[in-house]
Structure formats: C-alpha cells, structure tokens
C-alpha cells in the first residue's frame, strides 16, 4: 500500500514519538473518511510464541497512535492531548506473520475532548480482528514540535 499525500504531510507526528518509531508504525493514508496506520509484523511483538500471534499490547500501541493521528487530522493542527480511555474488543486473533492496519476516525471534537473509533485488520477493513473506541483530552502545553501540521 502506498503512503498517500495526506498521510505523508502528517507523518512527522510519528517520527517525534520514540515509542512509535521503535514499534515501526507507519502512516498509510489520511482522508476525511479516516486515517490508516500500519504496524509491520515482527517476531519480538509476539504474545504467544506457540501460535506466533501478535501481543495485544503491540496492537494497543498501533490503535492509540492511529487515534491520536486521526484527532490531529480532524482538527488540522497539533494540539497537546492525553488518552483518557481506550477500549479494544478482540473479534479474533490477528493472523500470524501479517502486517496489521488500523483505520481510525475522529467523529466528534469538543473544546476539551475528542472522540475516536476504529478497527484493526490485516488486508480487508470489512474483516477486522479488533474493534476499538477511545476518548482523548486536550491538555495545556506546547503546541508545536517545531513544524506545524500542514493541511492535507
């Protein structure tokens, strides 16, 4: 999957986070209908060595990152915020060896909060292995990483 122009314009938000970089999370696309981020499969992210299935914790990192990305894309700027809550339902195990994607949509923003939902899948967004919702809270603080988010 090629990285879309919209995603590359915003992908510097991924490079400033050490944990996101360490996990190898990539921005794939950013559109009004949702943002897609990906996590390449790696043996060190496995939760059950007998099956090779990714640990839920690796998927959590992808989802949290995709949700934050979706909020920035929705408000078209970087605004400091913190995850307030995150809930993930595992519909089935992720397929061992597969790169996984999360599609996230920020569907409501208030002055204090942003509401996001999404799903995680291998190839087909209509056959997700996880469904997720989250709420983010805007916090006070520095608004820029040095480069303001460009509009997509």
């Amino acid at each position: 999957m090629q990285t879309s122009h919209g995603a590359s314009a915003w992908s510097h938000f991924l490079s400033v986070s050490p944990y996101t970089g360490r996990m190898g999370i990539e921005a794939i696309s950013a559109e009004d209908g949702g943002c897609v981020l990906a996590l390449p499969y790696s043996p060190e992210l496995v939760g059950d060595p007998d099956s090779g299935v990714l640990h839920g914790g690796a998927v959590t990192a992808l989802i949290d990152t995709a949700f934050g990305f979706a909020v920035f894309f929705r408000i078209q700027q970087f605004q400091p915020m913190a995850t307030l809550d995150l809930r993930i339902d595992y519909l089935r195990p992720a397929r061992p060896g597969a790169k996984v994607y999360t599609r996230a949509l920020c569907y409501k923003v208030t002055p204090e909060l942003a509401f996001v939902r999404g799903c995680s899948y291998e190839e087909d967004a209509s056959d997700p292995f996880a469904s997720c919702v989250g709420v983010f809270m805007f916090t006070a603080g520095q608004r820029s990483f040095g480069e303001q988010g460009k509009s997509a």
Binding site: V16, S17, P18, Y19, T20, G21, R22, M23, P43, E44, L45, V46, G47, D48, P49, D50, L54, H55, G56, G57, A58, T60, A61, L62, I63, D64, T65, P80, A82, T83, L84, D85, L86, R87, I88, D89, Y90, P93, G141, Q142, F145
Partner: protein
C-alpha cells in the same frame, strides 16, 4: 520447549523471574516480575524509547496499555494453572495521570476467575500503589 512446558517448568521451580522471558513482547519491553509471598508485581523499567510525547515528557499510552495487558496475562499464568496464554476478549484502559519517565509497576486483582471467562482489574502506579496512574479491565477467554 513449548510455552506450556516452559510455564510448567517455571511453576515447578518457583522461578517466576523467567516468566517474562517466555513471552517475546514482554521480553522486548524488558518486563520484570517481583514475587513476594502472595504478591505479584510486574515492572516496566523506564527506557527513553517508551516515550510517546517528548515535550511533556510522558510514556506512550500504547506502551503503558501494552504493559498492563501483559501484566494481566503474566498474573494469570502465576495465579492459576492455566496451561497456556488465555485469549483477550476485550481490554479497557482508563488513563488517570500522565506517566512520568520512570519505572512503572502493575498490580492485578482477579475480580472473577471463571471456567470460561475471567475478569481482571489491573492498576499501574509509579510512586505508591494507592496512587494509580492508569487502571484497566481485562476480560480473558480461558481455554
């Protein structure tokens, strides 16, 4: 050695410090476990690569969430005779405070141990256990 054999061996020798080594994701996070009598605490040692927002700085919400899910599963393997890793049905995380760049600890309370489903409450703290920074609920499908 399969995971079930490794876990059985750890149980036989009571050598719980080896448990995080048996799970690749726990090994990557360099998790430690601290077992004292009936108390089982998981430890996420601080590393700069766990930072999510370098401006605060704060640990990545995904790193803490992953740590808590891992802590719940490690606790399940310690406190029961589960032969293998239970499947996560769902996982719900409430972030109460920003996680500072320092070691994070997790304690687990088995709310319900069922034949089919178990419910765990997991609390992460950094200074004292009575001041949690993140709490989570984990539903596991036993198999």
């Amino acid at each position: 050695m399969s995971l079930a054999q490794t876990v059985a061996d750890i149980r036989r020798h009571g050598d719980w410090s080896r448990l995080p080594q048996a799970i690749p994701f726990a090994r990557m996070l360099k998790l430690r476990v601290d077992v004292r009598g009936e108390s089982f605490t998981s430890v996420l040692p601080y590393e700069p690569s766990l930072i999510g927002n370098p401006l605060v700085p704060a640990l990545h919400g995904g790193a803490i969430g992953g740590f808590l899910e891992c802590a719940g599963i490690l606790h399940m393997l310690w406190s029961t005779d589960a032969p293998s890793i239970p499947k996560t049905i769902n996982f719900s995380i409430d972030y109460l405070l920003s996680c500072r760049p320092q070691d994070t600890y997790a304690n687990v309370y088995m709310v319900k141990l069922g034949k089919r489903v178990s419910n765990l409450r997991i609390e992460a703290w950094q200074t004292t256990p009575d001041k949690p920074v993140v709490v989570a609920t984990l539903n596991l499908l036993m198999r």
